[in-house]
Structure formats: structure tokens, C-alpha cells
């Protein structure tokens, strides 16, 4: 026996399908990791300096000197830089894939990750149309947000740490969307959860903020449990967790509508609900607004929270096989959309409104994914990434301005409370404009991005409700109606936000008002780009009838059904299964009766009406600044202001009981029962010893007596037994 080389080394990258050669796909993932490492080292160096100062009783201000220290200048280039290169690479690959008209996913294997007797998981990435879209969104929007952050976080002492976390987040997000199997996806899944945790609690010395991070992580883990269990079931059913074999074998191995596939999809749904903040696991997302605003834009609006939608879309084949799960997904989605929208009506924190708006929009995406409109869901995911990122960044610009102004005025007013704002439009023109663009987009006003995507989801809901053999037809109709109402609510609360923030009289602290100013260029340029995307982003997936109609200016606008075709290879299996099971969807929408065009027209008009009505109704209202606003709303408004009491119910129903049970386990079971028993055995033995030793009276008579007693016993036993 020598130095055996029987253990094979890591696999060289192996490419399974050679129809198209991806360009350095691994580098797309690695670049953000590289950024993380560089920024992380810088962060540690700067933290070391500041902590050394702290220990000696002073504070280290990195911005005090004439020039910023290198630890605070390098990240400016490294952070967005790696994102930019990654985005370019992603674009390059997109172009390649576009040209190759790829049908099957390209899987690139790097090394064997886990290998046991009957399980092999490779560190592999999968490139297909869906992951490509996600990569573009993640790197593209991510890049813009990085750039915005340069301005937003400029004066934060933890600047390098911030970029390290942000880069790490993008790394995990890319792993999530590019992983070639559920296991890889899970790495990213938990990884982004970690980064979300770190970034929410970025200002970790603030108790509330770090609480929020913790809450996000734990709630996410509840969802992760579902994901984990789904993986176990998948492994049991398929013996692998790779996407390829699972989806190819799904129809053969799993009975359509059967318990297994339903269980798998419901468990996946649980995972998705955790990550995408669906009811009832949505409670973490509003709290997550504790993080820096660009983080909210990137993680809690544009990318991470949509991972659930991505996962459902990715598993479209499985969902198509499980109509019940689909109905559940759609139901959860629509319920979430409605509840979140109602809550958003009564929030005063600008970020909270956006957070609930995000939850609501994610609900729409789930609705889409649930009814089988996977493309529509992804489409909405994409457009939502644009306009919600824009909204958050815009809000960030507002908060940035407010914060500076209040800081200058030595005011302790809340910089995020809309009751302290008002009339900002005069001082923040650009922000005001782009925010309106985004608001109209999310409200679903033609021809902005949100109109096409949201519209499509609602329309598909109706269409599938009318599918001939859909067992849940009625339910779908209800979904559709709720979705409609929610869409109207969306328009309303967004208008409310705009009105309270930018219009009317200024309620800003008088001394602070002069200090309000527009965001620097590094911040508004990304806003502008996103605004453009919010306008035109929806044009990539316009059904032909619409594009040919008045809404597409009779084909004059560059609209196409491109996304639909692009995602065809990913979704057509699911579509085929679903159509086979439920029948063709009813292409005439209910109530409206007509086709896409009539419906679209009606919906955009309705949305516009709501926006205008809201403007009128709210525009004239006098708002009271937060400091003076003591009136606690009652009735339904109170319920909404208190977010339907979800947190309270969880607290009383789960958190406290578990805590109480934990205490009980510790103080009673552990200390009294188990340890008590153990100590009892010990003490009892010692006590017994002591008791027996009392017979040792020191008197010879006693000893003789005991001896005789023994004699009697032994003799008696011997003679009689």
C-alpha cells in the first residue's frame, strides 16, 4: 500500500451540452465574491483602526483628515466595479445565448460537492433563459444600486463593510439563480438570507435594527425548513437534486396531482413564502427596512425577495403537476397582495409603505406563478425590480436629504416619517419626477412597465379561471376579483405616498427646510436609468394583440412578445402539462368579456382614475407632523395601522409559548426532573450510607447482635431454603 491516489481529484469543468459555449460563467459568480474579499479585508482594516481608537477612549473619524483613508476610497471602485464587469459578462453571455437559440440548459460542472453512497451533488451552474434573465436583473439592477450606494453611504464609517456585504449578497444571489440544482439553489438561498441578516442589522449597535435582522433570519429559516424537506422528498423520488433529471423525469415518476408532488410543491412554496415574504411569513420584511435604503432596494425589493418567485417558476413543471399547490400558491399570493396593500394604506413611514407595497407586488407574482402564468410572474418580477428599486432609491434620496437637513438643524425628528415631509417636490425635482414615473408604473398606468406585467397576471388569472377542467375555477375567479381590488388599492396608496412626501405644504422642521437639497449625481443618475427602465421595461413582453392595438400605437411602438418566447424553453413543459390537465385557458376575460385589449384598456383607465381621485382627495388634506400626531387611529384604520396584528399574534401564539416552553424545559425538566433525579440518586446513596453508618454505634453488643442476626439469616436460609 503506497500513498494511494485512489481518491479522485476535483472535476475539471465539464460541459454537458456543447451547442453554445458560455463565456466565463463562473467568473460572473466569482467577481462579487472577489469584491467581497477585497472589501472585507478593507473593512477589517478600517474596523481595526476604529476599534483601536475606541479602546483608547476616542472615536476614529475616517473623514476627519484632508483625504479619506484608502479603506474608504477603494470600495467605491471595487464594489460597483465588480458588479459592472459581472453585468457586462452577463450581457455577453446573454448575447451569446440569444444568438444560439438555445433549447436545453447548459450545465457547467466545477467540482463534486457532496458525494455519498447514493447521492451526488456537484458544484455546478445552469445557464438557461430563466437564469439569464435573473442574472441580468441581479447584476444590472445590482450595479445601479451599488452606484447609488456610493453616494448614499459616503459618510458612513462602515463604508467598506457595507460594500463587502453587498458584494457577498450578489454572490449568493447569483449562486441562487445560477445553481444547477436545488442543493446549489439552497446555498444561495440561505446565503442571501445571511446577507440580508447582516445588512438589515448593518447598524448593529442599534438594538432594533439588529433585532430586525435576527427576525428576518429566523423567519426565513422557517421557510428554509420547507425547502429542505422538499429537497428530501425530491431526493427520495428522483435520487438526485439536479434540475435536469428532476424536471425530465417528473412526469414519469410523479403522479399528476399526487400526494408526493403536492407535498413537494407545497413545501417549496413554504420556502418561497419565507423568502418572498408571503403571508403569514411576511412579517420580517417591513422590519427589514431597518437596513440602509439601498439595501432595501436591492435585497428587499429587486432581487432576494423575488427568489421565491424564481423558485416557483423554476419548478414550473412540478407545480403544473400539482393543481392543488398551484391554487394554494395563487391563493397565498393574492391574499398577501390584498393584506399588504391594505396595511400600506395606513403606514406613515415611507419605507414601510414601500415595504408593504413590495409584499403586495410579490403577492401578485405568486398569483401569476400560481395560476401557471410563469412568464408573467417573471415578467412582473423584472419590471418590479426596476420600479421598486427606483422607488426605494428615490425614497433613499428623500431620506438622505431629510436626514442631512434634520441633522444640520439638530432636530431629532424621524427622517423617514412622511408626516414630517410634504412639499419636497420643489427642492428635489429629479427625485420627484422619477418617483412619479415609478408610482405610475406600479399603479399600472399605460404604457409604463407595471401596466403590462401586472395586467398580464390578472388577465391570466381570469383566463385560467375559465379553463374547462380547472377544478378551482371559482376560486380563481375570486382571486381575480381580489387582485383587481388590490390593484386599485396599489394605485391609491402609492399616490398617497407621493402626495404626502412631495406635495402640499412642507411639514419639515422649519430650521431644516433650507438644508433640503437634491441628491448628488452619483445617486440620481442610477435613478434616471431605472426610471427609463420603468418606462420601457414593460415593452419586452406585450401580447401581439395589444401591440397591434391602440395601446401599442398600432405597432408603432417597439413592443414585442419577446420575453414570452425567450422563456418558452423553460416553461413550455409546464404549460403543456397544465393545458393537458386543465384545458385551454379562456382567452376571453370574464366580466369584460373581450380579449386582451378591452381588458387592458379598462384596467389602465381604472388605475388612472384611482390615481387622479386620490390626488384630489388627498392633495387638499392637512397632515400633522409626526411629533404632533398623537391620535391613535381606531376601527379598521387601527387594525390596518397595526398590520392586522400579525406580529402580536405570532408573538402571543408562537414566540412566547416557545420561550415559555424553553424556560420550562430548562428550569423544570432539566434542572428539576433530570438533574433532580441524578442528584437524588447521588444524595440518596450518600444518605443511605449515612443511615447505615448509624448502626455503627460503637457498642460491642450491637455488633454482636448484628452478627447474630446475620447468623440467623444465613443459617435459616441454608437450612430452610
Amino acid at each position: 500500500m503506497g500513498f494511494a491516489a485512489s481518491v479522485p481529484g476535483p472535476h475539471l469543468p465539464v460541459q454537458e451540452v456543447a451547442q453554445w459555449e458560455p463565456v466565463l460563467p463562473g467568473l460572473i459568480i466569482l467577481l462579487p465574491l472577489l469584491g467581497f474579499v477585497v472589501n472585507g479585508v478593507l473593512a477589517l482594516r478600517s474596523a481595526a483602526r476604529s476599534s483601536a481608537a475606541l479602546r483608547s477612549g476616542t472615536e476614529w473619524d475616517p473623514f476627519a483628515g484632508p483625504a479619506r483613508p484608502r479603506t474608504h476610497t477603494l470600495p467605491t471602485w471595487v464594489g460597483p466595479g465588480v458588479m459592472f464587469v459581472a453585468f457586462v459578462l452577463a450581457l455577453w453571455n446573454f448575447a451569446g445565448m440569444y444568438g444560439a437559440e438555445l433549447h436545453d440548459p447548459v450545465v457547467v460542472r466545477y467540482w463534486t460537492w457532496i458525494v455519498t453512497g447514493n447521492l451526488q451533488i456537484d458544484a455546478a451552474i445552469q445557464l438557461d433563459q430563466l437564469s439569464m434573465i435573473m442574472m441580468l436583473v441581479v447584476t444590472g439592477v445590482g450595479f445601479l444600486i451599488h452606484v447609488f450606494s456610493v453616494g448614499y453611504m459616503k459618510d458612513d464609517t462602515g463604508y467598506p463593510r457595507y460594500f463587502a456585504y453587498l458584494n457577498l449578497f450578489v454572490f449568493f444571489m447569483l449562486v441562487l439563480v445560477m445553481g444547477a440544482g436545488y442543493a446549489m439553489m439552497f446555498i444561495g438561498w440561505e446565503g442571501v438570507g445571511l446577507c440580508s441578516y447582516l445588512l438589515i442589522g448593518y447598524w448593529f449597535t442599534d438594538r432594533e435594527k439588529s433585532d430586525a435582522g435576527k427576525k428576518a433570519f429566523i423567519v426565513n429559516r422557517i421557510g428554509d425548513l420547507g425547502f429542505l424537506l422538499a429537497m428530501f422528498l425530491l431526493f427520495q423520488a428522483f435520487g438526485t437534486l439536479d434540475f435536469g433529471p428532476v424536471f425530465e423525469g417528473a412526469e414519469g415518476r410523479l403522479a399528476a396531482g399526487g400526494a408526493t408532488v403536492t407535498a413537494i410543491t407545497l413545501l417549496l412554496m413554504l420556502g418561497a413564502a419565507g423568502k418572498s415574504a408571503q403571508v403569514p411569513l411576511h412579517v420580517w420584511l417591513p422590519d427589514a427596512m431597518a437596513g440602509p435604503t439601498p439595501v432595501s432596494a436591492l435585497i428587499h425589493a429587486a432581487t432576494m425577495v423575488t427568489a421565491g418567485v424564481y423558485m416557483v417558476a423554476r419548478s414550473s413543471v412540478l407545480y403544473a403537476l400539482a393543481p392543488t399547490s398551484q391554487a394554494v400558491v395563487a391563493g397565498v399570493g393574492v391574499l398577501t397582495a390584498l393584506l399588504a396593500a391594505t396595511i400600506a394604506l395606513q403606514q406613515h413611514d415611507i419605507k414601510k409603505v414601500l415595504a408593504y407595497s413590495t409584499v403586495s407586488q410579490l403577492g401578485f407574482m405568486f398569483l401569476g406563478a400560481g395560476v401557471g402564468a410563469f412568464t408573467a410572474a417573471i415578467f412582473h418580477l423584472m419590471t418590479h425590480a426596476f420600479f421598486k428599486a427606483l422607488l426605494f432609491l428615490g425614497a433613499g434620496a428623500v431620506i438622505h436629504a431629510m436626514h442631512h437637513a434634520l441633522h444640520r438643524a439638530d432636530s431629532h425628528e424621524d427622517a423617514q416619517d412622511m408626516r414630517n415631509m410634504g412639499g419636497l417636490k420643489d427642492r428635489m425635482r429629479i427625485t420627484w419626477v422619477v418617483m412619479w414615473v415609478a408610482t405610475l408604473a406600479i399603479a399600472g398606468i399605460w404604457p409604463l412597465a407595471g401596466f403590462f406585467s401586472k395586467d398580464e397576471i390578472i388577465w391570466y388569472t381570469a383566463a385560467w379561471a375559465g379553463a374547462p377542467s380547472n377544478p378551482f375555477g371559482t376560486l380563481y375567479t375570486v382571486y381575480w376579483l381580489v387582485a383587481l381590488v388590490t390593484a386599485m388599492l396599489t394605485a391609491f396608496y402609492m399616490t398617497r405616498l407621493m402626495v404626502m412626501t412631495f406635495h402640499g405644504e412642507s411639514r419639515v422642521e422649519r430650521n431644516a427646510r433650507p438644508h433640503l437639497h437634491e441628491a448628488p449625481r452619483v445617486m440620481w443618475v442610477p435613478l434616471a436609468i431605472l426610471a427609463v427602465l420603468s418606462v420601457f421595461g414593460g415593452w419586452v413582453n406585450v401580447p401581439e394583440p395589444l401591440a397591434e392595438s391602440f395601446l401599442g400605437l398600432f405597432g408603432a411602438l417597439p413592443m414585442s412578445e419577446w420575453l414570452h418566447h425567450w422563456l418558452e424553453p423553460v416553461t413550455h413543459d409546464a404549460a403543456a402539462i397544465q393545458t393537458a390537465a386543465l384545458g385551454e385557458p379562456a382567452y376571453g376575460a370574464p366580466l369584460v368579456g373581450g380579449g386582451e385589449f378591452a381588458w387592458a384598456l379598462a384596467s389602465t383607465l381604472a388605475a388612472a382614475v384611482v390615481v387622479l381621485a386620490a390626488l384630489r382627495a388627498l392633495g387638499g388634506r392637512k397632515y400633522v407632523a409626526a411629533a404632533r400626531d398623537t391620535a391613535a387611529p381606531g376601527g379598521l384604520r387601527g387594525i390596518l395601522a397595526n398590520k392586522w396584528y400579525f406580529d402580536e399574534v405570532f408573538d402571543a401564539g408562537i414566540v412566547r409559548p416557545v420561550l415559555a416552553a424553553s424556560r420550562w424545559c430548562w428550569k423544570v425538566v432539566d434542572a428539576v426532573l433530570i438533574d433532580g433525579f441524578v442528584n437524588f440518586v447521588g444524595n440518596f446513596t450518600r444518605l443511605a450510607g449515612w443511615t447505615v453508618s448509624l448502626f455503627q454505634t460503637g457498642q460491642a453488643n450491637t455488633y454482636a447482635f448484628v452478627l447474630t442476626l446475620g447468623v440467623l439469616l444465613v443459617l435459616g436460609a441454608a437450612v430452610f431454603l
Binding site: 500500500m1 503506497g2 500513498f3 494511494a4 485512489s6 481518491v7 479522485p8 476535483p10 473593512a43 477589517l44 474596523a47 476599534s51 483601536a52 475606541l54 479602546r55 477612549g57 467540482w111 463534486t112 460537492w113 457532496i114 458525494v115 455519498t116 453512497g117 447521492l119 458544484a123 439552497f186 438561498w189 440561505e190 446565503g191 445571511l194 441578516y197 442589522g201 448593529f204 449597535t205 442599534d206 438594538r207 439588529s210 433585532d211 435582522g213 433570519f217 429566523i218 429559516r221 428554509d224 425548513l225 429542505l228 424537506l229 428530501f232 422528498l233 431526493f235 427520495q236 416557545v658 420561550l659 416552553a661 424553553s662 424556560r663 430548562w666 425538566v669 433530570i674 441524578v678 447521588g682
Partner: protein, 524 residues
């Protein structure tokens, strides 16, 4: 010359196991002979040398067919059939390497912590290392038992002399608790010895013992008690928090990283192969799984409400070892391999956690979580290491903890889905106990003036933690080399269980006949 170089591998394989086992004893004498001040350096050098030596195992160990490699056997007490027999297989190789790694790290980590009676301390540490390595290397049951018990004494003194306030209570509790189990196991060992009729205490001879189901169940109970206390399995765990809280840092590290592993190692090495029938008896499996799951959930809950950071981590050990228990008794290859990885991972991450807590204690002389807060601001390197370790401990993908728990759970799911589902909630509860501690120690306001002078990691402490953190991530990212090395041995265990299934459960005409002797026993 070239011949000599070519012969080095064979030479290495001939003596390496003996060297790993006895070099620490040599170090012990060296420490005893040295001056008080130099004791720590000497001890570190010896254990470091052992570690370097053990590194060769990574390349030279050949998993082969899953049997023992580098076996050697010398008669020791011939009249009893006891021999000094050592061997290494895919199960023990990582345990040995974990030992050789952890010991120097624990010693290095104790440089500042142990201020009094250093010679005695380091001598005991080295003795402990010999004991633990012996447990993992012995292929003779008598020899195993000797080492198994031998580890108690140094630990008893380490806890009792250098421990905290209630050190004596903790030390004695630890000692008696574990002794109860192991002595009953001794009786069981003798039973098998006479049942096998081979007049030998070798591992193979014991495998050849022909035991009926009834006998197997009794013996299983005795062995399971011994190992279950060591692990510790749920209701037998109360010695652990006390021992951990009172033990000095290096003691806790060794206790968590190595001594607990002796229990689960015993499961894999003895319990399953010796009593394959009992191990798959439905009632036994049910009991073990329930206890494993109970440990996971219960310990996580109890951990979550501990005010003492060290006690918290101690309870997490119980939870982690619960994963090993269910993985093992799932009797699937994934479960067993997962259990093994959890053992390795827990050894690394919990060891690191104890080192970190020790550093906290050295700086602040308190272990109460509420006495900290905002440490992240004053000690960024410390905080980074702490967070990474905590994440590895709660099984974040990309760290070693995930691989183990994932495999253990998936393996359990294959045969006992409900168990796995309940156990998987441990994933949530892990976050539930660990994150609040991280938050309350590292985050929140730096509002206690004493904490403002909390020093960051020194260079020595970086050297202590660096390898552990690196390993956590390495195993998390690329565990395949580990998994490949352990698989054949795990398969051997499983095959034995399978074999017994056909004999004892599936259509055996005479269940009383028991297990047929293994073919391995016939080969000579």
C-alpha cells in the same frame, strides 16, 4: 537513496499510528521535567509535532474496501487474548486527525487562560490526547476500553483543578455519570467475549460472536448507555452543561470536540456492527430516533434561554449530537456519513466557539451574555470569527455544519420521514438559540464601559482560530474528499446490518440461531 525515499511511505505507515499514540506521553515526561514557564511551549511543540505527523494520513490512508488500514497487532495479555492492536479506517481517520488538530489548538488557546500549575495542566492535556487517540485507534476491545476510561482521569482533574466555582461538583458529576455507563459496558464486553468463544478481545473476534436477538438487545442497551452518556443523548445529558461551564477553555474544547465524539464513534464502531440485529430492531430504532430528535429540539430550546454563554454552547452540543444519533440510526449511508460529518464539523465549530468564549472570559472574567454587547465595534476580528463560527454551528450552507446536518437529515428521511421532518425543525431552532447570543454579545449598544477595552484577537489567537475557521469553510465548500474517504467504511457497517436483517428478520427459519459468524472471521 532513492530506494530509501521510496520506502518512506511504507515506513510511515508502519509506525505512524504508534507515534501518534505515544508521542504525547513522551511529551508528558518532557513537560514534567521542564520548567514551569516552558511547559506550554513544550506541550504545544509535542502536540504540534503529532499533528504534523498525522497530516500524512490524509494521503497515505487508503479507504480501500472499508476495512482497517495500517493494522498492527502485538500480543499484550496473552492469557486473556488481549493484544495491542491498532488500525485505522474511514470512520476513525478523521476522528484521529480531529484529535491531533484540536489538541495543539486547545493548548495554544490556553496559553493565557491557564496561569497556575501549568506543568500539571499540560501534562494532563497530553495524557488526554493519548487517551483519545487510543480510543479511536484501538482495534482490540480491551485496549479500547482502557483508553475510553483513561480519558476520564485527565479530564476530571482538568475540570476539577482549573475549573470555575462549582468545578468539583461538575468534575465528579462528569466522572460518575460516564463511569456508570462504561462499567456496565465492561460487563457487556465480557459477555460477548465469552459468547464469541474465541478467547480473544480483538474486534474481529467480537464481530464473530453469535448472539441471539434477546442477547443483542441487552448488550445493546449496555453499550448504548455507555456511549449515550458520552454523546450525550437527551435525558442523559445533564453532566455536560455543568462540565462545560466549569471546565477551563481548553478542557471545554477537548470535551466538546473529542470526548463527545467517543460516544458517537462507539455507535458506529461497535454498536451497529456488534449488534446489527438490535440496532435495527424497530423498538430500538424508534427509541433512539425519538431520543435523538428530542435532544435536537429540547437542547435547542433550553440553549435559547441560557444566560450563560458557555452553557448555551454546551446545550447546542446536545442538539448537534442529536443529529448524529438520528443519522446513525437511520441506517442509511447518507445518515451515517452525515453523522460522521456532523461529528467532525461539531468538533471544529463548537471547539472554536468554546475558544472564543474563553477569550471573552479572559478579557472580561464573565460568561454572562448580558455583560457583553457591542463587542463587534471594539473587536472586529473577534466578531468576524465569532459570526463565522456561529454560522457554521447553525449549519449555514457553505460551512461544514450544513453538510453534516443535510446528509444526516436526508439519510434519516429515507427511512424515517417523520423523524427527519421533526428533526429538521432544529434548523429553525438553531437560529433561535444562536443568533440572539451573537446579537447580544457582538451587536447592540456598546453600553458597558468595561467592554470598551475589550481587546481584539491577538496574533496567537488568530493562529488558534484561523485553521478552524478555514476548515469550517473548506469542509462546507468541498467535502467530497472527506466523504469519499469515509464511505467504504460506512458501507461495511451497513452491509453488516443488512446481512443481519436477512438472518434475523427476513424469513430466517430459526431466529434463535442468531447471526452467522462473519466471513471475515473465517479468513484468518
Amino acid at each position: 537513496m532513492t530506494d530509501f525515499i521510496a520506502s518512506i511511505p511504507a515506513l510511515y505507515e508502519d509506525w505512524v499510528l504508534h507515534a501518534l499514540l505515544w508521542l504525547p506521553v513522551a511529551g508528558l515526561f518532557h513537560v514534567m521535567a521542564a520548567a514551569e514557564d516552558r511547559a506550554k511551549h513544550i506541550a504545544f511543540s509535542w502536540s504540534g509535532t503529532v499533528f504534523v505527523l498525522s497530516l500524512g494520513l490524509w494521503w497515505s490512508f487508503d479507504p480501500g474496501g472499508g476495512g482497517f488500514a495500517m493494522q498492527s497487532s502485538t500480543p499484550w495479555i496473552e492469557s486473556w487474548g488481549v493484544s495491542y492492536a491498532l488500525g485505522l479506517d474511514g470512520i476513525s481517520v478523521f476522528m484521529v486527525m480531529l484529535t491531533t488538530l484540536t489538541t495543539p489548538i486547545a493548548i495554544l488557546g490556553s496559553f493565557e487562560y491557564i496561569k497556575t500549575r501549568r506543568k500539571a495542566f499540560y501534562a494532563l492535556m497530553l495524557l488526554l490526547q493519548t487517551g483519545v487517540v487510543g480510543v479511536f485507534l484501538a482495534t482490540d476491545i480491551f485496549l479500547f476500553y482502557v483508553f475510553f476510561e483513561l480519558t476520564l482521569i485527565p479530564m476530571y482533574f482538568i475540570v476539577g483543578i482549573w475549573g470555575g466555582e462549582r468545578r468539583i461538583y461538575a468534575a465528579v458529576k462528569f466522572f460518575l455519570y460516564t463511569a456508570v455507563g462504561s462499567l456496565l459496558m465492561l460487563v457487556a464486553i465480557l459477555y460477548i467475549y465469552f459468547s464469541s468463544g474465541s478467547g480473544s478481545f480483538s474486534y474481529e473476534a467480537f464481530l464473530g460472536a453469535d448472539l441471539t436477538m434477546r442477547e443483542q438487545l441487552w448488550l445493546f442497551a449496555a453499550f448504548a448507555l455507555a456511549f449515550g452518556i458520552k454523546v450525550p443523548i437527551f435525558p442523559l445529558h445533564t453532566w455536560l452543561p455543568d462540565a462545560h461551564v466549569e471546565a477551563p477553555t481548553p478542557g471545554s474544547v477537548i470535551l466538546a470536540s473529542l470526548l463527545l465524539k467517543m460516544g458517537t464513534y462507539g455507535f458506529l464502531r461497535f454498536l451497529l456492527p456488534f449488534f446489527p440485529g438490535a440496532a435495527q430492531h424497530p423498538t430500538v430504532v424508534a427509541v433512539m430516533l425519538v431520543l435523538g430528535v428530542a435532544g435536537i429540539i429540547y437542547a435547542a430550546w433550553v440553549a435559547a434561554v441560557q444566560p450563560d454563554a458557555k452553557k448555551l454552547v454546551a446545550y447546542t452540543s446536545v442538539a448537534h449530537m442529536g443529529f448524529v444519533v438520528i443519522g446513525v440510526f437511520a441506517l442509511t449511508v447518507n445518515g451515517l456519513q452525515g453523522g460522521l460529518v456532523v461529528m467532525i464539523s461539531h468538533g471544529i465549530s463548537t471547539g472554536a466557539l468554546f475558544l472564543l468564549l474563553g477569550m471573552m472570559y479572559e478579557r472580561r472574567h464573565t460568561r454572562r451574555i448580558e455583560d457583553f454587547g457591542g463587542i463587534g465595534r471594539v473587536a472586529p476580528f473577534f466578531a468576524t470569527a465569532f459570526v463565522i463560527t456561529a454560522l457554521a454551528s447553525i449549519g449555514l450552507p457553505g460551512t461544514s455544519g450544513f453538510i453534516g446536518e443535510f446528509l444526516a437529515l436526508i439519510g434519516t428521511f429515507e427511512t424515517h420521514a417523520v423523524t427527519a421532518i421533526i428533526a429538521a425543525t432544529g434548523v429553525i431552532f438553531a437560529a433561535y438559540y444562536m443568533l440572539p447570543m451573537v446579537q447580544r454579545v457582538l451587536f447592540n449598544k456598546l453600553d458597558k464601559p468595561e467592554n470598551r477595552t475589550f481587546a481584539d484577537l491577538s496574533r496567537r489567537e488568530c493562529v488558534v482560530l484561523g485553521p478552524l475557521v478555514a476548515l469550517m469553510i473548506w469542509i462546507g465548500v468541498h467535502p467530497a474528499p472527506f466523504l469519499r474517504r469515509m464511505e467504504p467504511s460506512v458501507q461495511v457497517v451497513l452491509e453488516r446490518v443488512e446481512e443481519a436483517r436477512t438472518v434475523l428478520f427476513d424469513g430466517a427459519s430459526d431466529p434463535g440461531a442468531g447471526l452467522a459468524p462473519r466471513p471475515a472471521g473465517e479468513e484468518e
